[in-house]
């Protein structure tokens, strides 16, 4: 079992650009959530996808959007990048109705 996999592991973008991060959930999991972890902080919930729809959203602007594919993998898109978007982005998966989230290793985004 490969667990939750995220790509890329690191990337550097310029202010104003757009970025796409990818996540493949653990086998058997159909619900994917995204979290943003700024340096020295705990992860903050961005949104959650189930059945290819956004089900819950945290306190993040519309510049943050996502998508879930039929195979349950997911993408996180961030438009008009700001310096403050620099963070570790974590993907977590759960089976529907499950009570334990499994996390990927994260994507470290640096905005310069």
């Amino acid at each position: 079992d490969a667990g939750v996999t995220q790509s890329p592991t690191h990337l550097i973008k310029t202010r104003g650009q757009q970025v796409t991060l990818r996540c493949s959930p653990k086998s058997g999991h159909d619900t994917v959530s995204w979290y943003q972890q700024a340096l020295g902080q705990g992860p903050q919930f961005i949104f959650q996808y189930y059945e290819e729809e956004e089900r819950q959203r945290g306190n993040f602007p519309d510049r943050f959007s996502g998508h879930q594919f039929p195979n349950y993998s997911s993408e996180l898109n961030v438009n008009a990048l700001l310096l403050g978007d620099s963070a570790l982005y974590l993907c977590a998966s759960t089976p529907f109705g499950g009570t334990e989230a499994f996390f990927g290793q994260g994507t470290r985004l640096t905005v310069v």
């Binding site: 939750v4 619900t31 959530s33 979290y35 020295g40 902080q41 705990g42 992860p43 903050q44 919930f45 959650q48 189930y50 089900r55 819950q56 945290g58 570790l88 974590l90 977590a92 759960t94 529907f96 109705g97 499950g98 009570t99 334990e100 989230a101 499994f102 996390f103 990927g104 290793q105 994260g106 470290r108």
Partner: protein, 115 residues
């Protein structure tokens, strides 16, 4: 809304000493409670979880945690710390399941282990 407080930003202990990391939550009912560990630049690994039943739960790597409803606390403990335990520890709470599953994390406690 639920919240999680980890009062200690940074704790330093000597190898072999005991450890207790504090966590307080705010929620009207009993939530699901978790402790995660994060090594530098890595994702989160689940140490243990509490859903219901026995208030003392055992986890991986020799960790345990005790749920105290009267104090709204879920403190993490380890009797003897190893150098490899140096990492950041996060307490988290979740309310709801299925499509309502959302983790709320504390700000974390950084653990340093002295030889």
């Amino acid at each position: 809304a639920q919240s999680v407080t980890q009062p200690d930003i940074h704790i330093t202990v000597s190898e072999g000493a005991s450890l207790e990391l504090r966590c307080n939550y705010s929620y009207g009912a009993t939530p699901y409670l978790f402790w995660y560990v994060q090594s530098p630049g890595q994702g989160l690994q689940l140490l243990l979880k509490y859903f219901s039943g026995d208030t003392l739960v055992q986890g991986i790597k020799g960790f345990e945690a005790e749920f105290k409803r009267s104090q709204s606390s879920f403190n993490l403990r380890k009797p003897s710390v190893h150098w490899s335990d140096a990492a950041e520890y996060f307490c988290a709470v979740v309310v709801g399941g299925g499509s309502n599953y959302k983790l709320t994390f504390g700000k974390g406690t950084l653990l340093t282990v002295n030889p």
